[in-house]
Amino acid sequence: MRVRDPFEILAALNPVPRLSETSPQDDELLATIIAKAPSTTGKRRRRLWVTGGTAIAVVGLAAFAVFHQDSASSPLQLTCYTTAQQPQPEQFGIPMEGDPVKACEQLWRNGTIGDAEPPTLTACVNDRGIVAVIPGDQQVCDRLGFANWIGALTDDEGQMMAFADELAATFSEKCIIEPDATAAAQAVIDKYQLDGWTIVQQGGYTPQRACSLAGAVPEQHLVVIASRRGAP
């Protein structure tokens, strides 16, 4: 994680960028206010209201910033954007890691993305529910209509990654033929005590594809089984 200027972070918390814009009605409103005679009565009370209102606004903004963070619906996938724009001209889908910013930084450093030092990168949750690491500061997520990533994998997400690994390994270590595939997948589901998951058998078995593969789709609570390449 990069250490950021606190004032820059505070500036990034503004959820309503249009507040800084002016409209033709603004001048008219200002003229009306100036034309009114200043009143001294109730000045203290108004100051109290202004102070209270400001405090509430600050608390509200801070709450907005906290609540505008999100976790991914699919903790298995991570995508590295090459530019801060949507739609993305080129992206890199890589396995999820504990520090997604570091994982994408590595692609910049080894020349896979660009040919210079990595810029400031920020982890967001994109509109598809996966973590997207995007060039830009903390505001870049909001600018693209995304949430900021919550910053760490939860225990449940870690468990989900372990489950997906074990499921894939179970089916790649040996040839599991079609009649045995559902039971083998169910055994892994039971081991991880996952409730409400379903298994979909996509088939496609031929003499050249007699064994099975299996993969988890966490966002759908689904395990997919299909034939895989190679005879047993």
């Binding site: 298995l76 996938q77 992206q91 690994d165 074990e166 790649s172 270590e173 996509q202 003499p207 997919v224």
Partner: protein
């Protein structure tokens, strides 16, 4: 991954070198009456056909014409297993929105995972592709459903356009 790699250690195989080895064959009858031979199943209690060596595993028996062929296959399988437990392919699968490798690009190096292209905003967009260092399968529907793309998608293959009927059709992929 450490736990996963630990799980890759091969179970000891029972190898029957010749059909004439009576003791070994008796063992085979106990553990695996059916065996896979080239492109079909054998009933070992009836005939070995041209097979002379079988690799008996707890879940499956595979027979070969020669012992040398069996040894070569087992060595290749061990290498493949060590490889498939890694979660990232060394060079990624590249899907292009345009034909002849043009347009927006999606690079995928995640292995052994169901990759729904809608997660990347790339559903029904693929018009050309380059496969990286790992074999890949393309499907017309999400979650490896629909039809399997029958064009060449082995490691290192590429195509400047899709087979007839497959332009802007791929919805999910699996990288081995």
């Amino acid at each position: 991954m450490k736990r996963l790699l630990g799980g890759v250690i091969l179970a000891t195989s029972v190898i029957i070198a010749t059909p004439g080895a009576h003791a070994a064959r008796t063992s085979a009858e106990r553990t695996a009456r059916s065996a896979w031979f080239e492109d079909h199943w054998l009933d070992l209690t009836v005939s070995w056909e041209q097979a002379t060596a079988c690799d008996v595993q707890p879940d499956l028996t595979i027979c070969y014409r020669t012992e040398a062929a069996m040894n070569a296959e087992l060595a290749a399988a061990r290498t493949a297993m060590a490889f498939t437990t890694l979660t990232a392919c060394s060079t990624s699968l590249r899907l292009y929105d345009g034909t002849t490798y043009t347009g927006t690009v999606l690079n995928l190096s995640i292995r052994a995972t169901v990759l729904n292209l809608s997660n990347y905003g790339f559903d029904n967009l693929t018009s050309s592709y380059k496969v990286g260092g790992c074999d890949s399968d393309f499907y017309s529907a999400a979650n490896l459903g629909g039809s399997l793309y029958t064009g060449s998608t082995g490691a290192g293959s590429q195509a400047p356009s899709m087979l007839s009927g497959w332009n802007n059709v791929v919805s999910s992929v699996y990288v081995y």
